[in-house]
């Protein structure tokens, strides 16, 4: 029972800490996989069937952004649930769970930012030059 309870507690924590990283990894790979053929398509070098490129690109960004957002919310809730105070000093202000929730919180913000930058990057560089 104890072990099952620990597992139940650990899984949300794992998502809260690593969710943003997974989302960004997914966005990077999907966008890269989609991006190259889309540009080949535009150059007329290869036929992979018509794809609504921009829509697909944005959909990947939004989907993975939502995943990172969910991880952000999860980490925030865990952090609050554990006391929500600063974790930069010791002793007496929280254990490893709150620390990891805090770590996840900031990590998720960074990955969300990276997803936003990746999604909007074609706005500041020509997409298929």
């Amino acid at each position: 029972m104890k072990a099952a309870g620990r597992r139940r507690d650990t899984l949300p924590l794992i998502f809260a800490v690593t969710g943003g990283a997974w989302a960004w990894t997914l966005q990077l790979w999907l966008s890269w996989i989609v991006g190259e053929p889309l540009c080949f398509l535009q150059l007329g070098d290869r036929t992979l069937g018509a794809a609504p490129g921009a829509l697909l690109w944005v959909a990947i960004g939004l989907g993975t952004g939502a995943l990172a957002g969910a991880a952000l919310v999860a980490s925030y809730r865990l952090w609050r649930g554990e006391g929500g105070q600063s974790v930069t000093d010791e002793p007496g202000n929280g254990g490893p769970r709150r620390f990891l929730a805090y770590t996840g919180l900031v990590l998720n913000v960074l990955f969300l930012l990276a997803i936003a930058m990746g999604t909007t990057s074609p706005l500041w560089l020509p997409a298929c030059a």
Binding site: T25, E36, P37, E90, G95, M117, S121, L125
Partner: protein
């Protein structure tokens, strides 16, 4: 429960005297120290290469070395520094200090540690073997030895490195050497990650982990994720060179850019793998010399983790100039710029710590830290510049890039390592280094470094390309190149001064005592040098700065641990009373839970053995013999490998019944016979399988990459064979997994050994049948692998499946014999547990490979 006596502990842990004892040492301290010492040796050799390079470029139209020799020199220089200095250096530091910092007696897999070291050493010797042969020609009449020095750069791009364009054996030596070095790094990473996750002392929770340990954990994870791609790429390139399988040959459907992807998926994180531990060193040094805890500990941890993770997704920024579509480049450009944020967080946290110092002590270690801050920040800023695609297209392959990465790698890695040498030398050798010589060495290296590389930015902007062996006079480059060369020699003088200083201190420097810097972390609670067993009593950690916490505040300037090697005995895990010096003890360390560091089980550790050395030697011999077409030498080496592994893994009497388990840890009631996810070996196996899984995924990636870019996939008339028989083979593999699982269930139920042995033997039988079917199908249906990249990939994927099956069949056969001998029961079933995990892995790998190789629809105009 009595504390173990020092004498009894030392008897259990000491490495035996004599050559066999020396060669068979497996403890984390000798192995870590050997990594560091050997890495410094390769730094010297690589540094000598660079001095010749710089001398050649000192004046225009110089003819000290010709273009071919210049290419050889920059290849060995880059390879030595990137593969044989920086990564082994930081891993060696991690191996030595992580157990000391987290309160462990050793790392969980000491023999693997030793194997990693010997692979690294033999890899380095293979890299320089052709150079040694060339040097030997000077002394031998008639140049009898072949000149096969690698000359394809540290990146070895095909088609330059294909057999057609690099026909001699230099690149083959390079590929084998690099593969061995990277396997060594992966082994070290498995060890490091499991050790930090599972061997922390009670109370050493995630929020108290020293920042150096966080950085080593981050790079351990990054190595596990990134390094399998270079192993995959190198094996494919060697297969292309040796057996003409055209993975990178565009004429036969291959893609030279596939190599660049595989190389940079590894190569870009590698830079951060070198840099992050250096930041960990800086964070550790700042604390004692500012007499205050680091500012923004939590944010620094975030910065370390995010830098490691971001680094895994930036590889395409090394390929901006290869003509890839810009839509893909934009996302990598965005990620490349993102990494400036965590780097900036760390720099500001260090500056804030310096500003908030209670008492700033500007000794040699701190001077190197300050030098690092200046040079690394400069290198980081130029990094943001080259992360921008338009700028990179202008600066690509110029000396601007050379200057940028040397600012990051020398300023960002080498300076902190020098700082670490001055900080930790007293711990390792028990002697203090000379501060006056140290400060002189700092100024020589700092001025020499900046003189060498600062002007190279300008040279790059003026158009001087990398890797040119000479240049015409009058281009405005002459003075800058000359200053750069002088700077290189000044830097070298500074480094030699550091070596001299180390030698002098080792011979008879002033004694350091256990904690000369009055530092706060656990390694300073041990003797200097630390005892063979590290801690007499496993610490019970109560704070992030445990040594300061014990005495109140850092102002307690007279802090010294009461007894070297004793961790606050009243509070440690163990009792007050002293055990007998005649006690017989086992080598053991504590495994604790992942989150709250609760003691879970005792890890019984092996003693001295030369098995790792023998295995590494056989791998090196097989590799060398394969390169040199000496198949009669390769064959016995290959056959010896499984025998050595069997010798290594076969349980001995002391494994089956260790002496007084738990006694040295003060935990006699904790179990030592555990299996499944609570046990540390299971973690090691799971991570190892993860690495093999990534190699499989890299092969799948390669297959899909080639498929998508080939004019037609498969080429007309080529097919992989009928699917139904492949499914039959898969069914047999599945049956093998079921049989192994059945044996495990019977073991848990307390059944007799005969039944278990029969079930595991059954899995061996069906495994062999699947292997026979697989080979039959391959020989009957697969096209000539030299004919197209499609056929080559099909053969490689088939060989991968066969190899996995061969391994699991061999392991299962050994476990079947052990089951027959009655070595398994309800408590003792780890090997069975591992066999089941291996079978599951093989089933999963087969499924993925089959799905890709047989279910991908034809692409292109077939």
């Amino acid at each position: 429960m009595a504390r173990p006596s020092s004498a009894a502990l030392d008897r259990a842990w000491r490495t035996p005297a004599g050559i066999i004892g020396w060669l068979g040492a497996v403890n984390h301290k000798p192995v870590g120290a050997r990594f560091v010492a050997t890495a410094i040796f390769f730094f010297l050799i690589g540094g000598l290469d660079s001095l010749v390079l710089r001398t050649q470029l000192a004046v225009p139209e110089n003819d000290l070395v010709g273009a071919p020799e210049f290419a050889q020199l920059f290849t060995t220089h880059g390879t030595a520094m990137m593969f044989f200095f920086a990564v082994p250096m930081v891993e060696g530091l991690g191996m030595y200090f992580v157990p000391l910092m987290i309160g462990a007696r050793d790392m969980p897999f000491p023999r693997l540690n030793a194997l990693g070291y010997w692979l690294f050493l033999f890899g380095g010797l293979l890299l320089y073997f052709p150079t040694l042969a060339d040097i030997a020609n000077f002394f031998l009449p008639g140049d009898p030895l072949p000149r096969h020095i690698p000359d394809g750069g540290w990146f070895a791009y095909p088609p330059l490195t294909s057999a057609a364009h690099s026909p001699d054996l230099g690149l083959d030596f390079w590929l084998i050497a690099v593969t061995m070095a990277e396997i060594s790094a992966i082994i070290g990473a498995v060890e490091i990650v499991v050790c930090i996750a599972r061997n922390r002392a009670p109370g050493m929770t995630w929020n108290r982990l020293p920042l150096f340990v966080w950085s080593i954990l981050a790079i351990g994870i990054a190595i596990l994720l990134a390094f399998p791609s270079i192993v995959t790429g190198s094996v494919l390139l060697e297969l292309e060179r040796k057996l003409a399988l055209p993975f990178y040959d565009a004429a036969l459907g291959g893609q030279p850019l596939l190599w660049q992807h595989l190389f940079w998926i590894f190569g870009h994180p590698e830079v951060y793998i070198q840099f992050l531990p250096a930041t960990g060193v800086v964070s550790m040094i700042l604390v004692p010399f500012t007499r205050r805890p680091i500012v923004a500990y939590g944010l620094i941890v975030v910065a370390i983790l995010s830098t490691a993770l971001f680094s895994l997704g930036l590889w395409v920024h090394h390929m901006f100039a290869t003509g890839l579509p810009w839509l893909g480049l934009t996302i990598f450009s965005a990620s490349s710029m993102m990494i400036a944020i965590p780097s900036g967080i760390q720099v500001f946290a260090w500056l804030a710590t310096l500003l908030a110092a209670r008492r700033l002590q500007l000794n040699t270690a701190m001077l190197f830290v300050l030098g690092f801050l200046l040079t690394f920040t400069f290198g980081g800023l130029t990094g943001v510049m080259v992360a921008s695609v338009p700028f990179d297209l202008q600066a690509h392959d110029t000396y601007f890039v050379t200057a940028h990465f040397h600012y990051v790698l020398v300023g960002g890695v080498v300076f902190p390592i020098f700082a670490g040498i001055y900080y930790w030398f007293p711990k390792v050798f028990g002697r203090l280094l000379d501060e006056r010589l140290g400060k002189l060495a700092f100024w020589l290296t700092f001025i020499g470094f900046n003189a060498t590389f600062l002007l190279q930015h300008n040279l790059g902007l003026l158009g001087m390309r990398r890797r040119v062996h000479t240049y015409e006079a009058g281009l405005g480059w002459d003075e800058m190149n000359f200053i750069s060369t002088v700077g290189a020699f000044v830097f070298a003088a500074g480094f030699l001064l550091i070596l001299f200083s180390m030698f002098r201190a080792w011979r008879g420097g002033p004694e350091a005592g256990p904690n000369p810097w009055r530092a706060s972390t656990l390694e300073w609670a041990t003797a200097s040098p630390p005892e063979s067993y590290n801690f007499r009593v496993i610490p019970d950690v109560r704070s992030r700065e445990p040594l300061w916490h014990e005495r109140g505040e850092p102002q307690a300037a007279d802090f010294q641990p009461a007894h070297a090697g004793d961790w606050a005995p009243a509070e440690g895990v163990g009792g007050q009373a002293e055990g007998s010096p005649d006690d017989e003890l086992s080598r053991e360390t504590l495994a604790t839970s992942l989150m709250d560091t609760r003691p879970v089980h005792n890890v019984i550790l092996p003693g001295t053995t030369i098995a790792p050395l023998a295995l590494a030697l056989m791998i090196a011999v097989a590799g060398f013999a394969f390169i040199a077409d000496l198949y009669l030498l390769a064959l016995p080496a290959l056959l010896a490998m499984p025998l050595i592994v069997g010798w290594w893994l076969w349980p001995r009497a002391e494994d089956l019944q260790p002496v007084n388990p738990g006694r040295t840890l003060g935990q006699p009631d904790l179990p030592w016979r555990v299996s499944g996810p609570v046990s540390t070996p299971w973690w090691g196996l799971a991570l190892g399988l993860g690495v093999v899984g990534l190699i499989v995924m890299n092969l799948v990636f390669s297959y899909l990459y080639l498929a998508l870019l080939a004019p037609a996939w498969p080429p007309s008339g080529q097919v992989g064979g009928p699917l139904p028989l492949q499914l039959v083979a898969l069914g047999l593999v599945l049956l093998g997994a079921v049989a192994a699982r059945l044996a495990l269930r019977w073991a848990r139920g307390g059944s007799g050994g005969g039944r278990m042995a029969l079930a595991v033997a059954g899995s061996v039988a069906v495994g062999l049948m699947a292997l026979a079917l697989l080979l039959d199908q391959a020989l009957a249906h697969l096209p000539d692998p030299r004919g197209s990249s499609y056929a080559a990939m099909q053969w490689v994927l088939t060989a991968t499946r066969a190899l996995l099956l061969l391994v699991i069949v061999g392991v299962s056969a050994a476990v079947a014999v052990q089951a027959g001998q009655g070595l398994f029961d309800r408590q003792r079933l780890m090997a069975l547990d591992h066999v089941v995990l291996l079978w599951y892995f093989v089933v999963a790998a087969w499924l993925v490979i089959l799905a890709v190789a047989y279910l991908l629809p034809p692409l292109g105009a077939a």
